[in-house]
Each structure stands twice: as structure tokens, then as C-alpha cells.
């Protein structure tokens, strides 16, 4: 499923549209608030779902070549985070849904 469609499905705001945002296809998802766990997951171009609003989420997304980051719980972002997303070309989305519900909807949409 396309990332754009998923964003709509989760009522997510697009805080930064990264590289190839319109075309990007979501093939795998990693949901964690621990960036060390995200670094462990060995899947190409995942979508990172997290309640952690910190610059290090974008750094981690960059390192693992993530397709984008979805912040859940409508968390407020540190001022730098959006700039960093723009610098690294990572798509940054935010939904007010709690993490469990966001994952549930993602799972349904992706036919998990």
C-alpha cells in the first residue's frame, strides 16, 4: 500500500514529505520506542512507528534507510526534528491515534 494512502487511513498530518513521498510503497513496519530495537530489525525500507519524539528517531530512520517515520499519540516534536527530516529526506508523519490503534489500522490496511 502507498504511504500516502496509509497516511490518509490514519488521519496523519504530513509534517515533511520526503524523497519520493507520492510513490513510496510500504512493505514493512517497525513499531518501537527504542531506537536500538529499530536498528536490530533487518527489513528493507521500513516505516517506523513510534511514540518517541526525538531527533534520534530521524537519525535512526536515516541509518536503517526507513521509508518514513510515523509519530503516534500526537506528540509534540522538538523544534529540530522537522528540519532534520528535511535535511535527511525522511518523510515525517504524525497521528493523534495511540500506538496500539495506529498499529491495528496499519495491520488491517496492509493485510497482516
Amino acid at each position: 500500500m502507498k504511504l500516502v494512502e496509509l497516511a490518509r487511513e490514519l488521519n496523519a498530518e504530513v509534517l515533511h514529505a520526503g524523497r519520493a513521498f507520492e510513490q513510496a510503497e510500504v512493505r514493512s513496519v517497525v513499531a518501537s520506542d527504542l531506537m536500538s530495537d529499530v536498528l536490530l530489525v533487518d527489513r528493507p525500507a521500513p516505516l517506523i512507528v513510534t511514540a518517541l519524539a526525538s531527533d534520534q528517531v530521524i537519525r535512526t530512520a536515516d541509518i536503517v534507510g526507513a521509508i518514513g517515520v510515523l509519530i503516534v499519540n500526537g506528540k509534540n516534536l522538538p523544534v529540530n526534528m522537522r528540519t532534520l527530516a528535511a535535511e535527511t529526506g525522511i518523510t515525517l508523519l504524525r497521528t493523534s491515534l495511540p500506538k496500539f490503534e495506529a498499529c491495528l489500522r496499519l495491520g488491517r490496511a496492509l493485510d497482516y
Binding site: L34, S36, L40, P44, Q56, R59, V64, T88
Partner: protein
């Protein structure tokens, strides 16, 4: 003297410096002062002997005013050199605080056109003085370091052909510098992407580099991350200056952590750093003592398939 450092137009690398450095890092600490009852003649002697053009008037670290060379010249003309400084000093002194970023200090020189600003700590005690010369010197030193760093990334002029070339990237890392955390590994990753290596391989090296970088920033007194990129191998080295890992074998167990709650709140400190580095490496080694820790990670680059190599 106004500084040629307009913070709103400076190049990014300079802006970065101006925000990273604090007034405290740059100021002249424990400045020479005069007391309120000292004479202007005494102030002049101090200025001449110490080659400064202004003195804070302070007693027991409490700031009362400032006397400058201009005040002395006026006193010479008007014959009041034996008056106490208190009578002729400037009382409405513009001050800086030691915790402020240097960018603030630089903008003050532009805004107020004074030659120096006394620096106070949180308790309003005089702890230093900042002159435009301090700022220029500090910025110059930092820029030189930055240039050296950038230059280290350039291939030598008479380098061998690209396929036989080895590139070394080196980054200095400061403890708890979260603003810059992740930049070194980002640059290493980018350098590998430029070589069009297998994305899975790039990712393994990037993960190792990132964990190494975060380890230095979170747990050490500072250190250095090095990447040596050769056609057949990529070697990462993380070297810090202490305090060392008391029990290396425990630190290699998944889930063992010494991180504070604060570090955990940033999404780190799950005890996965070293195990993660070992997992993605073909060869891994670690040595640690109170003087420092050295972690080495080696990833082999498989030879490219014959179809992509150039025709003989």
C-alpha cells in the same frame, strides 16, 4: 570593534559553532578588576601592565561598573586621575551570562559596539570578560579544526585510481552532544552510498557506526570515530578517553545496560549497542580500561559480480 559575524547570514558551519560554543568556553576567566575606591591612575597602570583597554569595577565578585581607556583619557584631560574610579565609571553595564551561546555574545558586539562585556554566572557573580578578540580567536581555532576534519575527507592529490583508493573519515565526538549525535554515521553512510555498494552492506556498517557514535556520546568522556573504506573492507574504529567499561563481557550481553533513565527517555540505553555492533560485523573486537575503550568493527565487501566489472 564590531565582529564580522552576522549570526543571521553566517554559513551553517559557523552558525553551528556559534551555537555550540558557550560564552564560558571563550571568555577570559577571572579578569583583572579594580575596586570602587581605587584611583583612575591605578586603573591606568593596571591597563598598561596587562595590555587591556577596559577593567570591570568589582569587589568580591560583585560587579559595580566598568572603566575603559576612554574614561582614562577623559580623566587625563580633566585632571581627575586621582579620583576614585567609582566617580567616573560607567554604571549601566551590559553583561553576558556564561551559559549563553556564543552567538549571543557575537550579536552583542554588533548591537552595542562596546569592546568588552563582563560575564556573570547564574548567581550574578563576575566570572570573566569577553572581548571581540576572544571571540575571533575561539572561532578561528574551531574553524581550523573543522577545516582539518573536512580536509581529511578529501582524497590526496596524487591518489591512486579510484578502485585502489582507501578513504579515511574521522570525527571527533563530545560527550552528551545530542545536537550533533548521528552526524558522523550519517556522513559515513553517505560516503558508502556514493560508492554504490550493496544497500544491505551499507546498512550494516551504518548501524555499527551509529551505535559506536551513540556509545561515545552517551557513555564516554569524548572520543573519535574513524571509518576506513577500502575496496574489499570497511573498518570502523571507536576510541574514547574513558572512563572504560568495568565488565566487558556483561556489556556484550543483550539487555545489560548502565544507562540512566534520562538516556532511556531518548530512546537509547536498552543494552543493545555493543551486541548490535557485533551482530552486523564480520570481525569485532573490544578493549577497555579506565583510560579508554577501543571498539573495532570490520565488514568485508564481497567482490562485485563479473557482469558489472569493466571489460578488459
Amino acid at each position: 570593534m564590531p565582529l564580522p559575524l552576522p549570526p543571521d547570514q553566517a554559513p551553517l558551519v559557523l552558525l553551528d559553532l556559534l551555537y555550540k560554543l558557550k560564552i564560558r568556553d571563550v571568555m577570559t576567566p577571572s579578569p583583572i578588576t579594580v575596586a570602587r575606591q581605587d584611583t583612575l591612575r591605578h586603573a591606568q597602570t593596571l591597563m598598561r601592565e596587562n595590555r587591556v583597554t577596559g577593567l570591570p569595577v568589582a569587589e568580591n565578585s560583585r560587579l559595580y561598573g566598568i572603566v575603559s581607556m576612554d574614561d582614562i583619557l577623559r580623566a587625563l584631560e580633566s585632571g581627575w586621575m586621582d579620583d576614585p574610579v567609582e566617580r567616573h565609571m560607567a554604571r549601566n553595564v551590559v553583561v553576558l551570562e556564561e551559559d549563553m551561546p556564543l552567538a549571543f555574545g557575537a550579536s552583542y558586539f554588533e548591537k552595542y559596539r562596546f569592546g568588552r562585556f563582563p560575564v556573570l554566572d547564574r548567581n550574578r557573580r563576575l566570572v570573566g570578560i569577553l572581548t571581540s578578540r576572544d571571540v575571533s580567536a575561539a572561532v578561528l581555532v574551531e574553524l581550523l579544526q573543522e577545516f582539518t576534519r573536512l580536509e581529511a575527507r578529501l582524497p590526496p592529490a596524487d591518489a591512486a585510481p579510484p578502485h585502489a583508493r582507501q578513504t579515511t573519515l574521522q570525527f571527533a565526538l563530545s560527550p552528551l552532544d545530542f545536537e550533533r549525535a548521528g552526524r558522523a554515521s550519517h556522513e559515513i553512510k553517505r560516503a558508502l552510498a556514493d560508492l554504490a555498494l550493496d544497500p544491505r552492506l551499507i546498512r550494516r556498517v551504518a548501524v555499527a557506526a551509529y551505535e559506536m557514535e551513540m556509545n561515545i556520546i552517551l557513555h564516554s568522556k569524548g572520543g573519535r570515530l574513524t571509518a576506513q573504506i577500502a575496496p574489499d573492507r570497511i573498518e570502523l574504529g571507536a576510541r574514547d578517553t574513558g572512563p572504560g567499561i568495568p565488565d566487558v563481557s556483561r556489556a556484550l550481553e543483550e539487555g545489560f545496560t548502565t544507562a540512566s533513565d534520562w538516556i532511556k527517555s531518548l530512546g537509547f540505553g536498552a543494552g543493545m549497542g555493543l551486541p548490535n555492533i557485533r551482530r552486523v560485523s564480520d570481525e569485532f573486537s573490544i578493549q577497555s580500561s579506565p583510560e579508554g575503550t577501543m571498539v573495532r568493527s570490520l565488514v568485508f565487501v564481497p567482490p562485485s559480480p563479473p557482469s558489472t566489472s569493466p571489460a578488459p
